[in-house]
């Protein structure tokens, strides 16, 4: 028998990925992450980033962490992944540049990871693949974020959003989801 073991780091990466995959398959559904707050963003990076990827984040600490993974820092317009630990109007200018992919290669649309605040945000109504019926979602993100998102998303083009709540919960809103802002 070959020797095989699962290191703690790989175990965490695996848990994070399975949670993200489930979240992406069921938009809006809360899925647990092993860590919370900014550490959750770091854990997502750890599971997905390496030297084959480019990332953008305005956060110097996260940037240091991701560079250590071998991932390449870039501007928001070239990034495969964008990480925002603060979701306020200051990130709009970055977000509007995030790649939405091309019709030949829609998968080059970015993944946007946002740490949300516990404060109430826009009330949404989600529908589309992964949802048996239209479902409500209240995020800690202001309406402006979702209006911008809807402006940039035109299936199959657009970016896919991962919402991380501070207590360590992840929800996804892929580009395939129709988001109505109440």
């Amino acid at each position: 028998m070959p020797t095989i073991f699962l290191s703690p780091q790989e175990s965490q990466d695996h848990t994070v990925f399975r949670s993200l995959l489930r979240a992406m398959s069921r938009p809006g559904e809360a899925n647990p992450l092993p860590l919370g707050a900014k550490a959750a963003l770091q854990a997502i990076g750890q599971a997905l980033l390496d030297l084959e990827t480019r990332f953008y984040t305005p956060d110097p600490h996260l940037q240091q962490q991701f560079l250590r993974l071998g991932s390449r820092a870039s501007g928001p317009a070239e990034a495969d992944f964008l990480f925002f630990p603060e979701a306020d109007e200051r990130i709009w200018a970055d977000l509007v540049q995030a790649p939405i992919g091309s019709l030949l290669h829609p998968e080059t649309g970015a993944t946007v990871v946002v740490l949300t605040r516990p404060s109430p945000g826009a009330r949404l109504r989600l529908s589309g693949p992964g949802l048996a019926a239209p479902a409500p979602l209240e995020t800690g993100l202001p309406e402006g974020f979702w209006r911008l998102r809807n402006e940039r998303v035109s299936f199959p083009l657009g970016w896919d959003v991962l919402l991380v709540e501070p207590q360590g919960v992840c929800r996804a809103v892929p580009r395939s989801t129709t988001v109505e802002v109440a």
Partner: protein, 326 residues
């Protein structure tokens, strides 16, 4: 930094065989595949210790997904005991420490070649289908590069034209398994060579389906609760295999997908293709609800066109809650 810091501690193989780079790549591709239902995401597709064409694509996805807490089921043609299925199952278990099962109800990950189980899959289950030909347009456009352009423009007219030519020439579609479907109203998708019987099981399903072609390096997905419609004309509806007169030679079960067993005298027997379901039925064990009931009715009423005059009359009188879009 020293070179030694970059190298991992000595082990014969990485957990679940794939190294961390390969796993991260697959994770990124899989998330995009789910976000764009039915779209074929290209991926590097590493070699695995299995010949290409023998399920390397499905295996890579399973290895990227599997963890010690998973319970893995592997079937080939519906059979857990087929040598290739046994071989894959043994490899996955050996490399991941995951438990294995033949019972559809107990599995968290199901890797399959050419079948979707008869028992309905639930929300915590993931189905991984092995794909030999990911490109549904290959019949009409052999170049992948040009097919990609057709997908970009959602230009699928040639496929309907092919179906029309079939109808003119043969009065019936000639495509057996791997019958193309339209996913989320946007991408034409090869469902892998599952029989037409299994196609409707992808529509508005409870479970996530991941499809992976190792040799052709494409991975794609059908998320749960996604519209999956066959290529059809509204006046010549899609039909599943007609096995209405067939019954399993051991259990007498009908209205599940059957395999023909030719006999020496030229006759043939019919056998349930889903062997674990057959085992449970033969032993009188409880089974999960199935996609097709004991009368052969599919669980989404109206998804399949009625086939008997009585069914047609009923539909005419009562309509259908899930009528085909015009």
């Amino acid at each position: 930094m020293r070179l030694a810091e970059l190298a991992h501690p000595r082990q014969d193989y990485a957990y679940a065989f794939l190294d961390a780079f390969a796993k991260r790549e697959l994770r990124r591709r899989l998330l995009k595949a789910v976000a764009i239902p039915g779209y074929q995401v290209p991926y590097a597709s590493r070699e695995v210790p299995l010949a290409r064409g023998w399920g390397t694509g499905g295996l890579q996805v399973t290895l990227a997904l599997v963890g010690p807490e998973d319970v893995v089921k592997v079937i080939d043609q519906g059979d857990d005991q087929s040598v290739n299925a046994a071989n894959l199952r043994r490899f996955i278990a050996r490399m991941s420490g995951a438990r294995t099962t033949t019972d559809t109800a107990l599995a968290t990950l199901i890797q399959s070649r050419h079948r979707i189980p008869e028992e309905m899959l639930g929300p915590v289950q993931i189905l991984v289908l092995q794909v030999p030909y990911p490109e549904p347009l290959a019949r009409v456009e052999p170049s992948f590069a040009r097919a990609r352009e057709l997908h970009a423009d959602a230009e699928y007219g040639q496929v309907w034209l092919g179906l029309y030519e079939d109808l003119v020439r043969y009065r019936t579609p000639t495509q057996g398994a791997d019958y193309p479907v339209l996913v989320h109203g946007r991408y034409l998708m090869a469902p892998s060579p599952i029989p037409r019987w299994d196609n409707p099981k992808l529509h508005q399903a409870q479970h996530l389906t991941l499809l992976s072609a190792g040799r052709e390096k494409r991975v794609y997905a059908v998320p749960p609760f996604t519209e999956v419609r066959p290529v059809e004309f509204s006046d010549v509806p899609f039909e599943v295999e007609d096995q209405r007169g067939w019954a399993d030679w051991q259990t007498g079960v009908r209205h599940k997908f059957m395999t023909e067993l030719p006999q020496a005298d030229g006759d043939c027997r019919y056998e349930l293709s889903d062997r674990d379901y057959a085992r449970k039925r033969a032993a009188g064990l409880p089974t999960q609800p199935t996609y097709y009931n004991e009368e052969g009715r599919f669980y989404h009423p109206g998804y399949l066109a009625p086939r008997t005059p009585a069914e047609r009359l009923e539909r005419l009188l009562h309509g259908s809650p899930d009528d085909l879009p015009a």
